[in-house]
Amino acid sequence: MVATRLLGETERRPGRGQTEGALSLAERMPRLVLEARRVSTSLAHGLHGRRRAGPGESFWQFRPFVTGEAAARIDWRRSARDDRLYVREREWEAAHNVWIWIDRSASMGFASDLALAAKVDRALVLGLALADTLVEGGERVGLLGLTRATASRRIVEGLARALVADEAGLTEDLPPRASPGRFDEAVLMSDFLTPLDRVGAAVADIAGRGSRGHLVQIVDPIEESFPFAGQAVLHDPESGHELPIGDAGGWGTAYRRRIAIHREGLAEIARARGWTLTIHRTDRPASEAALRLLTLVAASRGAA
């Protein structure tokens, strides 16, 4: 008989294991520097115009004042130190970011012994690895509704810390209401075991300003196959609901039909908004999903 287990709240937080797993996964990712071809002037606004002076908020450099510039641009504090006049330049900040959301609710803590890892483990590793690879490629990454998008070198640790601090996220099984910018992208990782209308509403919220996104459904193998037979009592870790079934084999047939319908509904939600749906089973290696996601993100960038 397949044995199952549920992770507790503390286990569902990212720990050193997940962080290191994410980093090592990110290292194995091809260094897609989200090709330079996408760094075109046409995309200058919003894509890769960073690392240069421009409109932005953070300091970039002081440069000597050129005669003819507006005097208001002179940084008097710096200029007072010597005889020259300096202008403070700010980094050109792009408003285009990748927002990641990782479901850490109780249902994500589920693992059967057919799986390589619990669903939440897999989601954390995937999300953090994605963040690291994207930052490496020059993107800014943030957690939806939790952090700002940054391009920090230590993005994995930063995100992990934010996740640990977020207690509310341990019970939420849908992304928070947040509106990313028009050119931002959202990556939502969950098992999406929520009624379809609620999922649809959440996606509609996020996609409200035209941002695009990717749904990643993490699935435990027995959630697909339901390999039980005989008498059993099923219980739902989130709602506490219990269902005694006398003949698990017969019930499984109906269940598998239901799951297929649910998945079709998810795909429909994604398609309606121009999003993508990735289904990842936890008995498959994480790199599969990571590669696919990177390709999807890169492709959507190219299309933008």
């Binding site: 044995a3 199952t4 009624p195 009592v233 739902d236 609901h241 005694p244 006398g246």
Partner: protein
């Protein structure tokens, strides 16, 4: 009743009929279904199960539970397996349990007792009154009681140290059987015929007349061994007896002294169908005289023990010298040679304060000597001569030596007629050379002894050449002249050495031959036991130590009665075997006379009796086994229910992924098995009792059981050992850790004892051993390690309190703080204190005798020996402790590194002091001696 299987509560078996109902009940109540956590349930909660297949209990589980129920019901019914069928008749008539409890039953007493208890318990199950009769006890009326009371009575029965007298009980049995019609008798017999007329002869008609049922339980062949010892012909002979050949053909006899130490062991072996065998002990007479007890090894029975009293032991020899009482040269007196020659094997008595020969002889004869030696005694007055003659007639040995006085006198108390005067050989006026002894004739008591060639007889007295002279001659010179003659008179013997007992006439008293000859002569006195007193009434001796039925010596029971000094019979109930009278003049009474034999019990007269074997007669109560079986089945059932509910699988699944957990579990299992003695893992050189310990001087410490302290002690003594090896001529071995209760302490000059207040106090035995160690010159260095925490005048620290409690029962000399001139401060280094990790504590040693008043002030003083005890609180071992690379392991207080050096110097001094004692104190005289030599 199913053959030998009976039930205490057979009605409980009716519950077995309810098992089918249980079957049905269990079938419709299946075990709890497995519970599966399943998150997708939320989106599929409305999927109602299509059909509910009714769950059934699996058949194997059903069978398991039914078996458990059946085992429980059977156990409640109280099944008992009793092959002998005692107490299983269901009748309510009384039961008489007769149990033989003479010493012949002691060998397998536990078996007998169990069989008897089974019989009583069987009667208790049937509710029958029970009477218990122990056949070796004095006869008493037999009455039936409640089984519980009878069981109490039975438990009080113990084997008696003498043969029983079964026939004495016949009348009470008769009375019992006539009163209780239809009673049943169970006789647990030992199979050995007893002292009196046999009970069987009387019992047969009685049983036939009263119609009582009789069951006899006995081993097929009585297994008991017994021992009767007889001292015959100067050789200790023990006779091992058995009633019938019983397969126990070989064994071991052991001779022990009065303190219970084994002196000799000898195998014995029966011929296959013999019932007795003789074993002779060949041993020197001195050793033989020390034997107090001979026993059959491993045979716990009073009959297998023979006690030896003084009667068969060292002869008393009285020596009377005819010369002047006040010898100017006592070392040249004849008595001196005689006493020295006789002492190894005889109890030599010499007259005290007697004036003349007559008084001396009277004193000797009053002292009940068995050999009277008269050295150069001439004429005796009539009365004395009559007493001596009577003494010889009654079996005494009179041994006379010639001399000037005998040669001058005329005396009938000699074996042969003597010529007046003597002859002189090898003198200045004689042509003859001193004559030596001829080889002894085979019929002589001295046969077998070889006279050395250098014996020279210069002078002797001569016998008249009568016709019977050759038959009375025990030894003669080369020329045939008799030199030792003897004659039997009455029960006794008169022997004469024709030379003096000193060296004036010959050098015979200087030779080893003299001792051997005397030994033979004294040995002849063996069969002639001296009559007690002067014909008055025999003395009465009170019991001192008696044997119990198992052959263990103890204080006499209240029923023991004194015996007369000439008691020679076997032991009885009134006179249990044991020692009677004072230790040096008492007698021993044994369970068997030396002429006794054991005979098998004749049961031929009891034709109607059922007989059973003792071995298979045990009753087996099956309740415990059935309850255990039911319990185990229930445990199995619980496990199965857990497994069916999916709990075990989850656990196992988790374990499967974690080999470390499995390994841990295996380890825990291994740890649960009690480990062997940890000592076995110690390196052989460190074993405290090995021969290495005796060969190498080494320091030792007491293992307190506190691992940190013990490690500090070991490392500390290792450090001090290194330091001693580098700085002094002493190279000690590796330090040894000791357990004072177990290990031999004598190998170690100095034992370091750190006080661990958390540990229990050493046992009383350990304290006594430490006491002996200190008394025999060892030194114990107690370290309370509390100099940091103790305050002068404050309450004692736990360590101090522990030490005080421990020393309370030790003999500790008066102590003082080490004075400045104590030799301990000068034994190797000149030190003034003994710091360890701490330097504030004081060091205490045995107080020296006060310095002489006004005497020269010497730089070092010492007592006579080494102080047996040194007490410090400075934690010396921690200051000495070094690691593998020689680094110090523990910091010292104060931080002055010199303190560690001083600690080592103090330690070297302590070791040197224990090894050399007051040697250094004597060395202070060396300058004065050198100065004197130089002059």
């Amino acid at each position: 009743m199913l053959g030998p299987l009976t039930f205490a509560a057979p009605f409980a078996l009716a519950a077995l009929a309810a098992l089918p109902v249980l079957w049905w009940l269990l079938r419709v109540t299946p075990p709890r279904p497995k519970r599966i956590a399943f998150p997708p349930l939320r989106i599929a909660a409305d999927l109602l199960p299509e059909r509910q297949s009714p769950a059934r209990t699996p058949p194997w589980l059903l069978i398991l539970r039914l078996l458990a129920a059946a085992a429980l019901i059977l156990a409640v019914a109280g099944p008992v397996w009793s092959p002998s069928g005692i107490g299983a008749t269901g009748a309510r008539t009384p039961l008489l349990v007769m149990i033989d409890n003479g010493f012949t039953a002691a060998h397998d007493w536990r078996t007998r007792m169990r069989v008897a208890q089974d019989a009583v318990e069987g009667a208790a199950r049937d509710g029958r009154p029970v009477a218990v009769l122990a056949t070796a006890e004095p006869a008493a009326p037999v009455e039936a009681r409640q089984p519980a009371a009878a069981l109490e009575r039975l438990r009080a029965v113990a084997p008696r140290p003498h043969l029983g007298d079964r026939a004495a009980h016949l009348s009470s049995i008769t009375a019992f059987l006539e009163k209780q019609a239809g009673a049943e008798i169970v006789w647990i017999a030992d199979g050995v015929a007893d002292a009196g007329d046999d009970l069987a002869k009387g019992l047969g008609p009685l049983v036939a007349r009263t119609g009582a049922g009789l069951t006899i339980l006995a081993a097929e062949r009585p297994p008991a061994l017994a021992l009767s010892a007889a001292d015959a012909g100067g050789r200790l002979t023990a006779r091992v007896l058995r009633a019938a050949p019983n397969g126990r053909d070989a064994g071991l006899l052991r001779a022990l002294d009065a303190k219970g130490l084994p002196l000799a062991e000898h195998d014995f072996r029966f011929a296959p169908d013999a019932t007795e065998t003789d074993v002779g002990f060949e041993m020197p007479v001195e050793l033989r005289n020390a034997i107090a007890r001979i026993e059959v090894a491993g045979e716990r029975s009073a009959g297998a023990v023979t006690l030896m009293d003084e009667r068969g032991k060292r002869r008393r020899v009285g020596i009377v010298f005819g010369g002047t009482a006040d010898q100017a040269q006592p070392l040249l007196a004849p008595t001196y040679y005689l006493a020295r020659a006789l002492q190894p094997f005889a109890d030599v008595q010499e007259p005290r304060g007697a004036k003349g020969v007559a008084e001396s002889v009277a004193q000797m004869l009053d002292g009940q000597v068995s050999v009277l030696v008269l050295a150069d005694v001439g004429a005796m007055d009539e009365e004395t001569r009559a007493r001596v003659a009577k003494f010889v007639d009654e079996g005494g040995v009179l041994l006379r030596f010639a001399g000037p006085r005998l040669a001058a006198g005329n005396d009938p108390l000699v074996p042969v007629r003597l010529r007046r005067g003597g002859r002189s050989l090898g003198g200045t006026l004689s042509w003859d050379s001193p004559k030596t002894l001829a080889p002894f004739a085979p019929e002589s008591p001295f046969a077998g002894l070889v006279p050395p060639a250098d014996i020279g007889v210069r002078r002797q007295i001569l016998a008249e050449p009568d016709g019977d002279l050759p038959s009375r001659t025990w030894a003669s010179l080369e020329d045939g002249t008799p030199i030792v003659t003897a004659e039997k008179r009455g029960q006794g013997l008169v022997a004469l050495f024709h030379v003096t007992a000193d060296t004036t006439w010959s050098n015979l008293p200087l030779s080893g031959l003299f001792i051997d000859m005397l030994r033979r002569v004294v040995g002849l006195a063996g069969s002639a036991a001296p009559a007690a007193g002067q014909g008055g009434p025999a003395a009465v001796l009170a019991p001192r130590l008696t044997l119990d039925g198992f052959g263990a010596l103890g204080s006499p029971p209240a029923s023991a009665v004194a015996v007369s000094a000439d008691y020679g019979d076997r032991a009885t109930g009134e006179h249990p075997p044991g020692f009677y009278g004072p230790p040096d003049a008492g007698i021993a009474v044994n369970a068997l006379r030396s002429s006794d034999t054991l005979k098998p019990l004749d049961l031929a007269a009891l034709t109607g009796a059922r007989t059973g074997s003792l071995a298979g007669a045990e009753t087996l109560d099956l309740r415990a086994g059935l309850f255990t079986l039911a319990l185990m089945l229930l445990v199995l059932d619980t496990l199965a229910a857990l497994w069916l509910g999916g709990f075990l699988a989850r656990r196992a699944g988790r374990l499967r992924g974690r080999p470390a957990v499995l390994a841990l579990a295996a380890l825990a299992l291994a740890a649960a098995i009690p480990p062997g003695p940890a000592r076995a893992e110690e390196p052989p050189a460190n074993r405290p009792n090995g021969i290495e310990s005796a060969l190498v001087t080494r320091l030792a410490y007491i293992v307190t059981g506190d691992a940190a302290i013990d490690e500090a002690s070991r490392a500390g003594l290792a450090g001090l050992t290194q330091m001693l090896a580098t700085r002094t001529a002493l190279e000690p071995g590796e330090p040894a850790g000791l357990d004072p209760a177990k290990d031999e302490l004598a190998f170690y000059p100095l034992i370091y004892w750190p006080i661990a207040p958390g540990r229990p106090q050493p046992s009383e035995a350990a304290i006594r051993r430490i006491d002996a160690f200190m008394r025999n010159g060892g030194t114990v260095l107690f370290d309370t390690r509390d100099a940091l925490t103790s305050r002068p005048g404050g309450p004692p620290t736990p360590e101090t309190a522990y030490l005080r409690k421990m020393l309370a029962t030790l003999e500790v000399p008066e102590l003082e703080i080490v004075p400045a001139d104590h030799v301990l401060t000068k034994a190797f280094y000149l030190v003034d204190s003994f710091p360890g990790r701490y330097d504030t504590g004081q060091t205490w040693v045995e107080a020296l005798p006060p310095a002489g008043e006004g005497g020269e002030r010497r730089p070092a003083r010492a007592g006579d020996g080494v102080s047996p005890i040194v007490i410090t609180s400075n934690d010396l071992a921690a200051a000495w402790a070094v690691g593998k690379r020689g680094e110090a392991l523990y910091p010292i207080t104060g931080g002055d590194q010199r303190q560690r050096e001083m600690a080592f110097r103090g330690g070297v001094n302590i070791v040197m002091y224990t090894l050399t004692g007051n040697y250094k104190a004597d060395q202070v005289h060396v300058p004065a001696l050198l100065e004197r030599l130089g002059q």
